[in-house]
Symmetry: C2
Subunit: 332 residues, 2 copies
């Protein structure tokens, strides 16, 4: 058997056993990204930290990448998708809570009174939501989320919400993992709301989803151990909560972070304050035609302080309009 | 080149690229375990859930194994090692807390008055401990732990505490991972106390360590983002807290659990209450010569209810004395 054929056979064996390594070699990098500064900076960063002979080399175990979810990996307008789900839950739970008829937050929700809701702030709304689904076991709650996701449609795109993940970001997640990174979601949304679909959509398993957490309680019902949801939050993973969530869950400082709003400010800050090579990026929603255009004045995904802080911190601002060839996979 | 030689060459390539898979084939299973029921049950369980054609097959992503730490992966007598560390910290912090001189818990600790400590319970002691290290950044705390571990010696074995991990359990962790399992620690101890050494000792990275959590707060000091420890616990990962910690952190029900005390009862219960094939085991400390002998009457690692519940739940009780050829790697 000639040498070339022998090597080829060896390569087949190797690929069969080490398919991950072979996938790395074959995957084209970030095909839905235009050739601009963001794509260049990402590729150069990944090359630098993966080069075992380079001064910026980072061992795979420390190649931690964190991603906000709402507005970074999928859309978040006209309202966080989880909030839309929760509003449906509040409506469904209302008959069991006659006292809500006197609750200002419920009245504003029922009347879709945006001005009143802004004046009230998030707290009374979150309290209603927590009450709406307390007492459920975590399994029942999971089923409720899956059912909603299967039937609900986005008001603008008329598609399931899980179709509204950003194709360039999914490519980026794959690209980072193919280069030895671990990819985590670090979201203000609840872990329970993301876990049922994050693995299929992003390749991110439940144990790599960090988010806000409602209190749950262990109990034994009919001889079976169950976890039941309680009417309060154990942890809010937003703003200054994000570095706390990362510390608690990962215990390492990320070297790569991607966000899109002021709620990601501290996560980006902690990431780039570390020693050695770091990269942080921000999605700028400036594409009213293919998605939405919003930043400083938006009530959802407000991007103001972080946009001002980006140049001095060398955070890369990614223009959805200029840097992405495609936004969603279903778009031509 | 004859076929055999060509296959051999292919195997070398394959091993170079897929060393993990090859390691599986070569590693002898659990050499420090005697041939008894526990070893047999473990090997048979792993075979059953890994066989893609078998009725008990479990996809690798769902092969979640959880381990208690104190008394399961390393020793816990005469007192939890973290408690010994914390006592040293309380002593060191005492000059800054003159009010402690009137505190019953501090007086009992200083006098090593075991009877008074038992009467007081853990709460006032934990409060002292939380105060002792609050205000530190998480980085400073990490350094304190590493320094202590480097210098402190166990009173009986006169060795660093990190030498007191159980060899058969380290083999078991390797064996499970070689068969596609993810291995997590789920401990009543603090994550911060375990993370600095768990990866080297057990091959378990920081993001797979679940434990009790002291509250931390994000802050910016001298222009740098820092996390500072606060004087209260955010979460106690013990007893009914363990299934909560598992749910929050992993989001999947484990198929394999290993504990040693009543504090692991609910973790074992949740694991074996799931559908499909499951395995739960308990280390029984019945080896006064090589380690310690204690169970129902012990104040540390009390094993009483779980020992009674084991037969009906098919939990396997592992006798340290009979089932382990060696306890610690340093023993002959």
């Amino acid at each position: 058997m000639p040498l070339v054929s022998s090597i080829r056979r060896a390569a087949v064996w190797a690929c069969a056993l080490a398919w991950a390594a072979c996938a790395v070699a074959q995957a084209p990098a970030l095909p839905s990204w235009n050739d601009g500064e963001p794509r260049m900076r990402i590729v150069e960063f990944v090359r630098a930290v993966s080069d075992p002979k380079g001064k910026d080399f980072v061992a795979p175990a420390d190649r931690i990448a964190v991603f906000d979810n709402d507005g970074t990996l999928w859309a978040e307008q006209p309202l966080y998708f989880q909030a839309l789900f929760m509003l449906d839950q509040v409506k469904a739970a209302a008959p069991g809570h006659p006292e809500w008829q006197q609750n200002p937050a419920f009245k504003a929700l029922a009347a879709q009174d945006q001005a009143a809701l802004e004046k009230l702030g998030m707290k009374p709304v979150l309290e209603l939501l927590a009450q709406a689904n307390s007492g459920m076991t975590v399994g029942e709650y999971d089923a409720t989320i899956r059912n909603w996701l299967a039937s609900a449609r986005h008001p603008k795109f008329k598609r399931p919400y899980t179709d509204l993940t950003y194709l360039p970001m999914r490519e980026l997640l794959d690209y980072l993992r193919a280069n030895g990174f671990s990819t985590f979601i670090v979201s203000g949304g609840s872990v329970e709301f993301m876990r049922p679909w994050a693995e299929k959509a992003y390749g991110i398993p439940p144990e790599q989803v960090i988010g806000s957490q409602q209190e749950v309680k262990f109990d034994v019902k009919d001889g079976k151990p169950v976890l039941t949801r309680e009417a309060r939050f154990a942890f809010v993973d937003d703003g200054p909560g994000k570095p706390v969530g990362i510390y608690r869950h990962i215990g390492k400082r990320p070297i790569f972070a991607f966000g899109n709003s002021d709620g990601d400010f501290q996560m980006l800050q902690v990431t780039t304050a570390g020693e050695g090579r770091r990269l942080a990026l921000i999605v700028h929603h400036d594409d009213a035609q293919r998605e939405f255009a919003y930043d400083r004045q938006s009530h959802i995904g407000k991007l103001d302080k972080a946009l001002d802080a980006a140049p001095a911190n060398h955070w890369v601002v990614v223009s959805m309009n200029k840097d992405w060839k495609k936004v969603f996979a279903f778009q031509q």
